[in-house]
Each structure stands twice: as C-alpha cells, then as structure tokens.
C-alpha cells in the first residue's frame, strides 16, 4: 500500500483583496497531494496564484475555502515544520550570516553550544564558510540566497517551501544555485514545494511539475519529471528536452492568456 500523502491541498479557493479595486479570485478549487521527500514544482504564468498557494500551505494566509492538511493535521498558522525561502531572501539585515542562521535555532530553544555548531555546519553546507560574520548587505545576491537557504535548512523543517528562490539572481548564479540545491536536497531529502515560472528550472529540479492556469489559478496538469538529475549533460538529455517541450506547450497558452488579461 502506498504511503498517504504528506501534504493534502483539498479544493482550496482564495480571494485576493487588493488595497483598492475589486477583489479577484486567485485560486479556484485547487487540489494537490504531495508525498514525503518529493520535490514538486508549481509552475505557471505570473499572477496565477502559485505563490498564494505556497503562502496558504505555509500558514501565512488564512485558509478561507477548502482544506490544507499536513500529516493529517489542518494548517493553522506558520510553524517550524515548514521552512520558507523567498525570492528576495528576507534575511534580517541587522544580523550577520551566523546571526541569521542561529535565529531559528534560538527560537527552537536549542542549547548554545549545539546551535553554534549546527549553524556553522549549515553555513559550510551552502559554501559560505568565511562569511559567517558578514552582514547581508556585504553579500552578493547568490550569497544572500545561500545564507537564506542555510537559515531555513538549519532548523530542520520537514517541508521546504521555496518562492521563486532564484528569480532575483543573474543567469550564471541561478544555474549554479540550481545545481547546489539539487546536491543539498539529495543529501538531506525533504519535501520541497518550489514555485517558479521557469520551465527548465522546474524540469531540472523536480519529480513532478504542477502546471497552473492563468488567473483564476487551477492545476491544469501534473507532469512526471522524475529521472536521473545527476547527468552532467542533462540539458542535452532526451528526456529533459522532451519534458521541457511538453510543459512549455502546456504553459504557453496560459502565459498568453495572462498577457492578454493584463493588457486588457
């Protein structure tokens, strides 16, 4: 018998209320199941509600209609079982890299000696050794995101929520960070929900890609993208190329629809 899903999203609808103007239906009866240690990408055009879905799972936004359960328990607010990494890092600028990584461990009440050791381990894991006493303002974008990832991994959440984490980085850094994330994920397998609008990135990293429709966001299809990600020539890999093509065709119509709505 198959293990029950770790994360169950059950007919979630969500209204977005802008500070002014009319409210919009951001998510329309979205259902999704994510298995333990699975890497799933939420892919869709901008404004399709993929980040909103992530924030709902994170417990940052209140569930209004539908149901989200993690290990059978309904989500009621944020918690350290779900770590999050944001596009713009969200590091505390008044803390050093070490201070940032220590923060979650302090909140968990970990003894001092242990948390110092743990923080250094994760700073090393993301390749920031030697920068532990730097402030975020002294780091490049890629290094900031490494620090943010170390901060989130250090308190050992079961689930990693990533909101376009490499979207603010230049192309080379992004490529490196994708490889790095894959390496880290293979070493410390966690359930990952990864929001992106980059088809290649989604196929490269995830086991499954959930393609979302333009607003109101629904899940259009889920594409299986599990294959050996350690292929050094992965970008020329036939399976990779086919999947990118398949998903691109799925997402293209939605992107065009989203564009049309915006210019209308």
């Amino acid at each position: 018998m198959q293990e029950p899903a770790q994360i169950v999203v059950d007919h979630i609808s969500h209204l977005y209320r802008p500070p002014r103007g009319r409210e919009v239906l951001a998510l329309d009866a979205v259902s999704l199941e994510v298995r333990r240690s699975e890497f799933i990408a939420l892919l869709g055009p901008s404004g399709c509600g993929k980040s909103t879905l992530l924030y709902l799972i994170g417990g940052f936004l209140p569930v209004e209609k539908g149901d989200i359960r993690i290990d059978g328990k309904a989500v009621a607010g944020p918690g350290p079982d779900r770590g999050i990494v944001f596009q713009h890092f969200a590091l505390f600028p008044w803390k050093t890299v070490r201070g940032n990584v220590l923060y979650g461990l302090e909140r968990q009440g970990m003894p001092k000696a242990e948390r110092e050791k743990r923080a250094m381990e994760y700073i090393e894991l993301v390749g920031l050794h030697g920068f532990e006493d730097s402030y975020p303002s002294q780091l490049s974008g890629g290094m900031k995101q490494r620090a943010a990832i170390a901060r989130t991994l250090a308190f050992d959440p079961k689930i990693l929520l990533m909101d376009e984490p490499f979207g603010a980085l230049d192309a080379q850094t992004r490529g490196l960070m994708q490889m790095e994330l894959l390496r880290i994920w293979q070493r410390t397998p966690k359930t990952v929900i990864f929001v992106t609008h980059d088809v290649q990135e989604a196929v490269l990293l995830s086991d499954r890609v959930a393609v979302m429709t333009a607003r109101p966001g629904r899940i259009k299809t889920i594409v299986d993208t599990k294959f050996d990600k350690n292929d050094p020539d992965i970008f020329k890999n036939k399976f990779f190329v086919e999947k990118v093509d398949e998903i691109w065709n799925l997402v293209k119509d939605e992107a065009i629809k989203a564009q049309g709505k915006r210019s209308a």
């Binding site: 924030y55 918690g79 999050i84 944001f86 969200a90 909140r107 402030y135 901060r151």
Partner: protein, 249 residues
Amino acid sequence: MIKTLIRYLPLLILALVWEMAARFEWVSTTALPPLSDVVRAWIELMVDGELLRNSASSLYRISGGLGLSIVVGTILGIGMAWWKPVNVLLAPIVEVFYPVPKSALIPVTVIWLGFGDGSKILLIFLGCMVPVTIGAFNGARASEQVMVWSARSMGASKLRVLWDVVMPGAMPELLNGIRTALALSFILLVSSELIVAQKGFGYLIGSLGAGGSYDAMYAVVLTVAFLGFAADRAYLEIVRRTLAWRSVA
C-alpha cells in the same frame, strides 16, 4: 585632528570678529560684550556654582521629558503601525496635535503642574513624543512582510516578532525621530524656563538679561548652545554604532 580644526576654523574666525567688533566698538558693547568678558563671566558663574546648579535642574528636566517621550512614543508608534484599532484611535489625535506650536502649551502645563520641574517635563514630553511616535510608526509600518513571515516560520510568536523583527526594522526611522526630539527638547526647555521658572538655563538667561549682566547672559546662551551641539554629536555617535549593520557594505 587637523581636519577637525580646519572644519571648525570658521567658528574661530567668528569669535575673533566678535571680540574685535566689541573691542573697537563697531557695535555697542551693551548689545555685544567682548567675547573675553563673556568668558570671564562664564568662569565666575562656574566658580560660584550658579551655572552648575541651574544646569543640573535643566538637565534633569530634559532627560526626564525626553526619556519619557522616547519610551511612550516608541510604544505608541509601533502600536499604531501594528494594531489597526490603536491606529484608528490615535492617528487623528497625532494629526491634529502635530502642527500645534508646542510652546503654546507652556501656560497650560504651568496651570496643571505649577512652576517647578513637573510642568517642564510634561511640556518636553508632549512636544518630543510627536516626532518619536511618527518615527516609530513610519519605521514599523515599513517592516517587510516576508521578514515577519520568515521569523514566524522559524517559531517566533507574534510578540517575539514585534521585538525581533519590527523593532530593529523600525530603528533607523525611530532614531531619526529621536534626533528631532532631542533638538526640540532644548527649544522647549529654554523657552518654558524663560517664561516661568525659578531655576534652569532659561531662567538664568532671563534674569541675567533683566539685571543688565549681558556678558553673563551671553555666557549662559553659549553654554546652552554648546550643550545642544554636544548632545547631538554624542547622539549621532550612538546612532552610528546602533546602525553599524547598515554602513558596513
């Protein structure tokens, strides 16, 4: 050191011109006694303890009023940014109170608390609270949602987030507001003491002027000016250290 000297050279020139203007009687010495006389008067005021006695009571009033305004203003400002009901309740009051010339409240505070320290402390407190509240409010309101969410997901309670994320995030704006308050506190102190007081810098300036001891009066004016300047410099140094994380890049 030499740089600092060069920087303040214009002040030295001004002092020289002052001395010469009075010595050669380009202006009436009643209006402008020679700087050297002012210095002599200053030493006399120090020796007989008059200046120190009055300084002590002025500094007590300033630290009391300013200290209270920092504590209360910070709480109010962050409260307004963080809880809608507090904002609804306080925003119109702050808005209306903001443009009131605080010196207009001098008689009011005297009616309430008399001629002593209480009325001065209350006046400074009321006046200084406004820039502190506004600074704290603007700073706290700008706190980034994603930073708050990050802290919450790491297990911080809502109250903890206020202390760990909102406070430090509000700090640059808050410290700016406090600097304005610091300058304002000297203005309110001296003007209230000039009008009704039995001691303090303002009282001393007023009574020396009324008695015709203009050199001594100038000595007190210069003392207040110097204290205001020194307080601002010291404050900027505190700010520089508190916000070290901002300037490291």
